[in-house]
C-alpha cells in the first residue's frame, strides 16, 4: 500500500509539476538575492554559505509542503485517502518520502547555480556532503510533513504552516548548518558528529510520531 501511495504522490507531481517547479523557481530566486546582496570577499562569504543554503532550503520546503497538501484539499481529494481501508500512517510516510525526493531533486538542480553565483568552491569531500545532505533532507521532510498534516485542516493553513514549522525546524537548520560548515572547512568528523546525531534523532522521533499520530490528525 505504501508504494501505491508513493506512486500517487510522484504521479500527480509528474502531471502537474507544481511542487518541484515552484520549489526550483523560488530556490533560484533566493540564490540570486543572496548573490546580489553579499558583495563581499570570497573568504567572508564562505563563512556564511552553509547557513544561506539551509535558509534557502527552509523557505523552499514551506512552499513545497504547502502545495503538496493543498492539492489534497481540491475536490476534497483527501477524503478518498482517509476513508479508504488503509493505515493512515502510511499516508504520512508517502508524503514524507515524496517530499524528500522533491527536495533532493530541487537541491540537485540548484547546487551548481548556488556555488557559481556565490563564487565559492565545492566541498572538499563531495560524497560526505551528499550523504549528510540526504539525511538532513529526511529530517526536514519528516518535520514538515507532520506539521503540514496538522496545519492542512486549519482555516488559515498557509499562515499556520510557517508559524508552526519555523520553530520546529530550527534545530534541524542549526544542525545542518554546523554539519555543512564542518564539511566545507574539512573539519574531522568528531567535531561535528553531535550535530549529525541530532539530525538522526529528529528523523527517528518525527517519523514515529508522524506515523502514529497521522491517523487522528487527518480527521477534520
Amino acid at each position: 500500500m505504501f508504494f501505491t501511495l508513493l506512486k500517487k504522490e510522484l504521479f500527480i507531481e509528474f502531471r502537474s509539476r507544481e511542487v518541484t517547479l515552484s520549489m526550483l523557481v523560488f530556490g533560484l530566486s533566493i540564490i540570486l538575492a543572496f548573490a546580489f546582496t553579499t558583495n563581499v570577499s570570497k573568504v567572508i562569504v564562505a563563512n556564511y554559505v552553509p547557513g544561506m543554503f539551509w535558509i534557502m532550503v527552509l523557505f523552499v520546503t514551506v512552499l513545497g509542503v504547502h502545495r503538496s497538501f493543498a492539492y489534497e484539499k481540491e475536490f476534497d481529494a483527501f477524503s478518498m485517502l482517509i476513508s479508504a481501508p488503509i493505515d493512515r500512517g502510511l499516508i504520512f510516510v508517502a508524503k514524507w518520502i515524496s517530499g524528500f525526493i522533491f527536495l533532493t531533486l530541487m537541491e540537485i538542480l540548484v547546487a551548481i547555480p548556488f556555488f557559481k553565483f556565490l563564487l565559492i568552491d565545492f566541498p572538499p569531500d563531495p560524497f560526505l556532503a551528499i550523504g549528510t545532505t540526504l539525511l538532513i533532507n529526511l529530517a526536514i521532510m519528516a518535520v514538515a510533513s507532520l506539521v503540514s498534516g496538522i496545519a492542512m485542516r486549519a482555516r488559515l493553513s498557509e499562515v499556520l504552516l510557517p508559524v508552526l514549522l519555523f520553530p520546529l525546524l530550527s534545530p534541524v537548520i542549526i544542525s545542518a548548518t554546523k554539519i555543512s560548515a564542518g564539511i566545507m572547512a574539512g573539519d574531522p568528523f568528531k567535531l561535528w558528529q553531535i550535530w549529525l546525531l541530532i539530525i538522526l534523532s529528529i528523523i527517528v522521533i518525527f517519523a514515529l510520531v508522524g506515523y502514529t499520530l497521522f491517523d487522528f490528525i487527518t480527521e477534520e
Binding site: S79, M80, A84, P85, E220
Partner: protein, 211 residues
C-alpha cells in the same frame, strides 16, 4: 450492520449533533432529511471517519470505527458532495487509484466499460478538473459501481445531474436496493426519500427523529 450510539459534535461550541442514536440493519436503506445546516453531511462524514466527533460510538459490522482499525472501512463507501478525487488525474487514473486503495485492483478495460455506461468514455483520459458538476456525479456513480461495498454513505446523489444522469442514478440506487445493499443517504426531496428509504430520519436542532 451499523450501530450509532450517543454521537455528539459541536462546531465552535455550537452543538450540531446531540446524542444521535440509531441502527441500520443489513440490506436496509435509511434516508436522512433536514434543513440546510442541520448536520446531515457532518453525520455522514463522521460515520466515514473523515471527521472526528466529540463523543459517541459507531460500530460497523461489529467493529468500532473509532479504534483506528483500517479494515473497519473495507466494506464502507463514502460519496460526499465533492468528488474526493485528484484534479490532476484523469477519470481512469482516479478510479484505478481509488480501487488500489481499496485493495481491489480492477482491469482498465472494466473501468472504461463502466465509464462508457455513464457517458464519460470520451473524457476518460482528460483531467477531472475540466469536468462539469454532473460529470463529476457520474464519475462518483462509476466509482460506486466498481467498488465492493456493503454500506454506502451517499450525500445528495441527485444534485447537479441532468435528466439522463437522474435516470442513471435512479437505476443504480434501485438496483443496489434490490441487491440487498445497505445505504444511508442524505436527500432533500420527500418523494425520493419515500421511494428509496425503508426508514426516514429527520435531523432537527441536532436531534434525530424517526418518522
Amino acid at each position: 450492520m451499523l450501530s450509532v450510539s450517543h454521537l455528539s459534535k459541536s462546531f465552535n461550541y455550537r452543538p450540531v449533533l446531540k446524542d444521535i442514536t440509531f441502527n441500520l440493519n443489513a440490506s436496509e436503506t435509511i434516508v436522512i432529511m433536514g434543513k440546510n445546516g442541520a448536520g446531515k453531511s457532518t453525520l455522514l462524514r463522521i460515520l466515514a471517519r473523515i471527521m472526528a466527533c466529540d463523543s459517541g460510538e459507531v460500530l460497523f459490522q461489529n467493529i468500532d470505527m473509532f479504534k483506528g482499525v483500517p479494515n473497519a472501512r473495507k466494506k464502507l463507501l463514502y460519496l460526499g458532495h465533492a468528488p474526493a478525487m485528484y484534479t490532476a488525474l484523469s477519470a481512469v487514473e482516479n478510479l484505478e487509484l481509488a480501487m488500489d486503495l481499496r485493495e481491489s485492483s480492477v482491469d482498465q478495460s472494466i473501468i472504461r466499460d463502466h465509464l462508457d455506461k455513464f457517458g464519460l468514455l470520451d473524457q476518460a483520459d482528460d483531467p477531472i478538473s475540466i469536468y462539469s458538476q454532473g460529470m463529476l456525479q457520474r464519475l462518483k456513480l462509476t466509482y460506486a459501481e466498481l467498488a465492493d461495498w456493503d454500506l454506502l454513505l451517499i450525500d445528495e446523489p441527485f444534485s447537479g445531474l441532468d435528466q439522463d444522469g437522474i435516470l442513471q442514478m435512479d437505476d443504480a440506487l434501485t438496483r443496489w436496493k434490490l441487491g440487498f445493499k445497505s445505504m444511508c443517504m442524505v436527500l432533500h426531496n420527500r418523494e425520493r426519500a419515500e421511494q428509496y428509504g425503508d426508514r426516514i430520519l429527520h435531523l432537527d436542532d441536532g436531534l434525530i427523529l424517526e418518522e
